[in-house]
Each structure stands twice: as C-alpha cells, then as structure tokens.
Symmetry: C2
Subunit: 461 residues, 2 copies
C-alpha cells in the first residue's frame, strides 16, 4: 500500500465528500489529455475516495482516466468499487494490471473482488495468485454466498492455549512477515485447533512476560460458524461490541477470522437492502445504467399495478353511488392515502424491529395491541377533522360522518396490517421488508375504498 493521508477534513456536513472543484479540474484535464494534472489531482486521494470518484463520472471518462493516470488501479481501489462499475472496469484491465491488483490483497478482499465474476473471469484472476493464496480464496469461495466463510480472512494469529505473554511476543517478532496487515486479538486454540479464547493485543502488551495468555483472555468470546449468514454475523458484532471473532468449520475448528470493519460494511449493506426493499427497488444504485434500473424497478411497479387494479375493482362496485354523489369520488383518495401512510408507519417500525430482533414472539401481542390503540386514537383525531371538512366543503353533515367512520376503520386496519403482515412474512421465512409494503397498501386501499364508498352508498343515497 502506498502512503496516503486524508487531508484534514473541514467541519460541517460535507467534511468527507469529494469537492465539485476536483471534478471540474479533472474533467478539464481529461479533455486536454493532461496526465500530469491528473496524477497531481489523484495523488492525495484515498483508495475509497478514488472508487467513489470513478463511480460518479461517466463510463468514457472512467476509461480515459484509468488509461492516462500513472498511479494505476490497485487492488484496494478495485475492492472499494461498487459491483456494476467494477465489472465494467475488469473488462478492460490488462492481465498485468490485474495481477498487480490482486496480489497485494488479503484473502477476504480477493474473495470480495471475484465472487460475483463469471467462472471464466474468476479463473483468470485466481491464476494470478500465489498457490497458497489461491487455496485460501478457493476455500472461502466454497462457502455459501453471503456467509461468514465468504466474509472472513483466512490469515489468523493464533497461539496454543498454554502459551505465556513472553512466548507470544517472541513468536510474533520472529515471523512478522506472516502477520495479517490488521489484527486485534490472538486466538487461543486447543490441540485440535478449536478456538477457546481471545486475548487483546493491549492486554498482552501491558502484561509481564511470565503471565499466561489464558489468564488474561477476554470475558466475552463468540465463535462464528462458517456457514452463518453474514447478516447474523453483523448483528453479533453490533450487539456484543466485538472487534474480531474466530470462524469455525462444522467440526468447530478454526478456519478464519471476521473483523469488525467487514462486519460494519455488511451491517450498512443490510440496512440499505431493507430500505431499498421497502421502497420496492431491489439492489438499485445511482450508478446503475438505465437498462439495469428499469429491470430492477419494473417488476415492483407491475405488482403495484395489479393491486391498484384490485382497488379499482372495489370502486367499480360503487359506480352508481359515485355517479349519483360525486363528492364520494372527490374524497375517497383521502381515506385511502391516510390508511396507506399510517400502514407504512406501522410497517416500517415493525420491519426495523424485526431486523434488530426487538420484535419477537415475546412482545408481538403487546405491539399489536399498541398499534390498534394508536390507529384508534389517530383515526379518531382525523375523523373529527375530516368530518368538519366534509360538512364545510360539501355542506353535508352525513358525508362528514361517513368519512369519519371510514377514517377510523382504515387507520385501525392500517395499524393491524402494518404489524401482522411483516411478522407473518418473517414466520414464513420471507424477508419482511420484501413485499410487505405492497400488501399493506393493498389492504388499506381496499378497506379504505370499501368502507367509505360502502357506508356512503348505504347512508347518502
């Protein structure tokens, strides 16, 4: 890794954002083919910022920049780039550039780089690795996608459980070249390579040489099965404030270590996934092309169309009522919209609570009770407001009563549906963020239209 330093950040909310002036200068330099200026502009940037920069410029600018810049794309930059852009770039890198890029990475970063490549590309990249590194990467790739086995690095620092501080320090000094770039714990293992404890480097350094590692091991110790889902791994790190945790195979033997920086990335991705799923966008990012974006959004809109037609069928039942009393058509979207919003509120709180394991069998009934009460209270409040609006706007007290009753019904149903639907999906093994939104708004649309138009038709005509 080359030396790099982050410029002292300005205060304020854009401390770490790339500056617009940088883009302007860079584009001018690209247009002029001025490699020297490009080198000067790129030099102070951190690999992660270079990755962001590459994602934000146009594809042709990207290609030109990579060709002109003498710094060259190293493995660190490549592993920071978001999947689609990376795939594009890998397509035109020379074999020499690729070799240089992958050789300097830790095994987990190489895995991250190649896991979504097609078999042929993957094979090509792996060919550039040293034999031992290649075995490490292939082992990781043998674990399921999005598992701890994919996330871990195979390079671990371990010691027999009977070692002393002095033995440990001597061992580390004797083999500095074998140590991973970052490590925070020494993992104690028993003779069969099962991890039995973690010792922080801080404790080792501040203890006398004669002290046994076993006596200064951490109080909390979590081992992670290699097949465990990476979302669970991230949860464990966040919940138990872990810094690193050993990964074990099915026999309980040490096969690698997951560190908190990787867990943090997963946590952030999982949160993003929930957010995007709730909005019905799958894995869409701003750097996706038009075709990829259409592909990711159209199916969700299609589902929404079906449910919207369902709601329209309910309206169609009351065609005559509407023709005879047009105010019903004017006001009906209000009841549906309020229900949809209240349902989305309940739903989002529930989905989030399920993800953080705060909504479980032990409190689901309490939450449902609370949501019903909240729906009732909010419904009553807006029933009064809308009742008055109905009277003032259309001069009909009965219309006011009808919309008020429909409002209460729909907001109670919204609270119920917003909680029960994600909980039920989760019980069925479906991600509650997926599809919940559509189900909930379908329920609130149908119930909203039915209640308002049904009561209206019965009372007003």
């Amino acid at each position: 890794m080359e030396a790099e330093e982050i410029h002292e950040p300005d205060e304020g909310s854009d401390a770490y954002a790339l500056k617009p002036e940088l883009f302007a200068e860079l584009r001018a330099a690209l247009e002029a083919g001025d490699a020297e200026t490009i080198d000067r502009l790129m030099e102070p940037l951190h690999a992660a910022d270079i990755a962001d920069l590459l994602e934000q410029i146009e594809p042709w600018e990207r290609r030109e920049l990579i060709e002109l810049w003498h710094g060259g794309l190293d493995g660190e930059i490549l592993s920071e780039i978001e999947d689609n852009t990376r795939e594009e770039i890998l397509g035109y890198l020379s074999p020499e550039q690729l070799t240089l890029a992958v050789r300097e990475l830790e095994s987990d970063d190489v895995v991250d780089l190649v896991e979504y490549l097609d078999d042929k590309q993957q094979e090509a990249v792996l060919d550039y690795l040293e034999p031992l590194d290649r075995v490490a990467v292939e082992t990781a790739l043998s674990y399921p996608e999005e598992s701890a086995g994919r996330l871990m690095q195979v390079e671990t620092v371990r010691a027999p459980q009977h070692w002393s501080v002095g033995e440990m320090i001597d061992f580390l000094r004797a083999h500095p070249e074998n140590l991973p770039e970052q490590f925070y714990h020494v993992i104690l293992v028993d003779p069969r390579m099962k991890p039995v404890g973690n010792v922080t480097l801080g404790r080792i350094m501040s203890s006398k040489r004669s002290v046994k590692l076993w006596d200064i091991k951490e109080d909390i110790f979590v081992t992670i099965p290699a097949t465990q889902d990476e979302g669970e791994v991230a949860y464990a790190f966040n919940q138990y404030h872990l810094i690193s945790a050993p990964v074990v195979d099915e026999d309980g033997r040490l096969v690698g270590v997951v560190t908190i920086d990787d867990a943090m990335i997963v946590l952030s991705e999982e949160n993003e996934e929930d957010l995007l799923l709730l909005a019905g966008v799958g894995e869409n990012t701003v750097s996706d092309k038009v075709s990829a974006t259409v592909r990711r959004r159209l199916p969700w809109l299609a589902v929404n169309l079906v449910t919207a037609i369902l709601a329209s069928l309910v309206i169609a039942i009351f065609e005559e009522a509407i023709a005879g009393y047009v105010a019903l058509a004017v006001l009906m979207p209000i009841v549906a919209s309020m229900g949809g919003n209240a349902g989305t509120q309940s739903l989002t709180v529930a989905v989030r609570a399920i993800a953080t394991k705060d909504l479980t069998g032990s409190n689901v009934l309490r939450v449902i009770r609370r949501e019903t009460m909240v729906g009732l209270i909010n419904g009553a409040a807006f029933a009064i407001v809308m009742g008055i609006v109905g009277i003032v706007w259309f001069g009909s007290p009965m219309l006011g009563v009808v919309i008020a009753i429909a409002m209460v019904i729909n907001l109670v149903v919204a609270g119920l549906a917003g909680t029960v639907i994600p909980v039920a999906l989760e019980k069925m093994g479906v991600d509650p963020a997926l599809a919940s939104g559509t189900f909930v708004t379908t329920v609130t649309d149908v119930v909203g239209f039915f209640a308002f138009l049904g009561i209206g038709a019965a009372v007003l005509l």
Copy 2:
C-alpha cells in the same frame, strides 16, 4: 465486568435472538416470585441481551425482575438499554445501585447514559463519579449533541513521536491500571499534544525493541474535530476502514479517541433514522408507549392529510366530468398509485445515495437524465398494459389512450420529482429523508389526477 460467554449460537437466521422459552420460563418465575430461577435464567445472558429482554417485557415485569434478580443492573446493561426504557428504570434505581452502575463504565458510556437526562438527574449521577472521571464526562458533555466530542472516550494511549517500541512496551507494562479496557492504536503526539500518527498494536508487538514508532506508523491517518457531527464520523470510519481515530480540539490538540464499535452504532442509528424518516415516523420504536407513538406519528399524518386534500381539490375541478363518465373515478387511483410508487423508488435511491455521498454535484445531471429515461420506459410499458385494460374493461379505446398518456406523464414526473426534491432539500440544508416522501407523492398525486382527469375531460366528453 463479570465473566460471560455467549452460548454457541445455533445456525440459521435466529442464531442470536432470545428464545421464546426463555420468556415463558422467566414469566413463570416472576409470577411465582422465584428469585433462584430468575438468577439461573439471567446468568448466561450478555449485557446487550439482558437489555433487549428488559425492553421486550411489560413495564411491571421489568420492575419486578430488577427487584428480584440478584445479579443486579450494572452500568453495561444500562448503557445498552434504549432511551425510553432506560429513563423509566433510572427513575426507580436506588442511589447505591446507580453508583455501582456508573463507576465501572468508560467515560463515553457514562456520557451516553446521562446526556439525555434532565439536569437534576444528570447532576445526581455525576455526583457518584470519582472527581477525575467527572471532569472527563463534563468535558464531553460540553461538546454539542451528536458530535465526535460526545462519542469519544477521553482515555487515550499516546506516546511522544520519538519513542521506540521498547520504550512503549515498558511504559505500558509499568501502568497497566491506567489503560482503557479496549485500545487498538498508540497515538503519536508532538510536544504540543497534536496527534501526528497512529501505530497499531500488532505492528508494535511484531517489531524489535529498537525500532522507532514513527517508522512503523500507519499509512492512513485521520484526525477528527471534536465538534464534527457523529454521522460524518461514522462515514469516515466506514469509508476509510478506520479502527480508531484521535479527536482534536479547535487548536488541533488531542482530547480523546473514537473507536469503531461506537462508530458502528452511530452508523446503524443513522441508517435507522433515514428509514424511519422516509416512512414518516421520527424516532418511533416498538418499545414506545401508545402516547409516545401517537405523538410521533400524528404530525406526519396531519401533513399527509393536507396534501391528500390538495389532491382532492384537483379531483373536485373535474366533478362534472366524473359524474358524466364514472370510469374516470374508477381508474384515477391507478395513475396516482403508480406515480407514487415510481416516485418513492427514485426518492429512496436518491436519499440513500446522498447519505453515502454517492450523489453529488458531479453526477446529479446524469442521474436526473437516467431517472427521466427510466420513467419514460416504465411509463410506456404500463401505458400499453393500461391502454389494453381500459379497452377491455370499459370497451373504450379512447379511455385506453387517455390513461396511457397520463401514465407516461406521471411516471416521468415521478422520476424527476423523486430525484430533484431530495437533492434540493439537501442543498437547502434540510435532511433529504425528512419530508421528501410527502412532497414527492403530493406531486405525483396532483399531476396524476390532473393529467388523467384533464385529458379525459377534454377527450371523452
């Protein structure tokens, strides 16, 4: 801290969730007043899990559990509990229990515990601290809310920049009692206490005693101003894969250190905030009471009511058209609903990209262009479908044409509004997750109804 071990997690998606049987047994023991069983059930649990457990049971169960359980609420558990529940518990803890709880915490955890208490309660807790700890906590509290100064711990491990590995290790061994519980770097400082570099413990341990710390310092080094927003701090940790970073005052002098586990919590909270804001729920959690929940959701529903009425006013313009051609009323929610969904899709992608600094001045025009194209393509696709539905359902080719045109218009507008509105809010210094949703659906409702009913009135009557 007492010794604790996480039971080997089962595989599957609920590896770390609290088991329903635990709650059942605990409730039975509470009912029977059986303190022994309670102790046995609580003993293997980690502080973070105990906190979750306390949040999930009823308030009266909580109080009884705390009274019966001999383990006692320590500071670690308290600092893990979510704000509302914690405030309730602090209300009935005895002064002795509080003293015990806060004394064993690092300064950043004490800050976290007391920062949202009212002045009197805060004063009471601070009184239990040793004078030096008290100064540390009060210094942190002097920084703005949600700043790096609040997040940092004041206990740092630092060394003059000219020290060698040997000097460092001797120093650490001589004063083990002064070391923080967890630390990952030694911070090198110049004579005026300005941090000039970070050395990882791993590098120190694997280097010879004569090696200068300066020569093995990390390549990447970020210092964080104490007044920086905690969201920016979390971004820096995630972006640059930091493990710990020194915090400096306005003169650039070292005042503390932020570690990645705290940054991870902030990142997770910021993501949660975005998710909840987008759904219009503020800081609502499943453990909030009914009154708190109503208070957090009602204002957003009120805003939605105003915008829904706005949409109804648009419909009211076309009352006559609807009375004469009821199919318009039946189909109009479809156009609005599709627009609202497409707008939410664009919006969510944009809000997320703004949060991760992937949508900036450098690519905003490209993203807007893309969103317009996506809107056009999706609009055209659904225009064809709805055109056919219009013809088949109502036997009117012209109605099909009308809804098709309205669909294209609304989906293009949705893509535009979903991107432009959050970008504009962000430019104005408003959190783009806040209120964007309401603005976007207002636009798509109004445009959708206006386009469909307007064209319909002109063409069909």
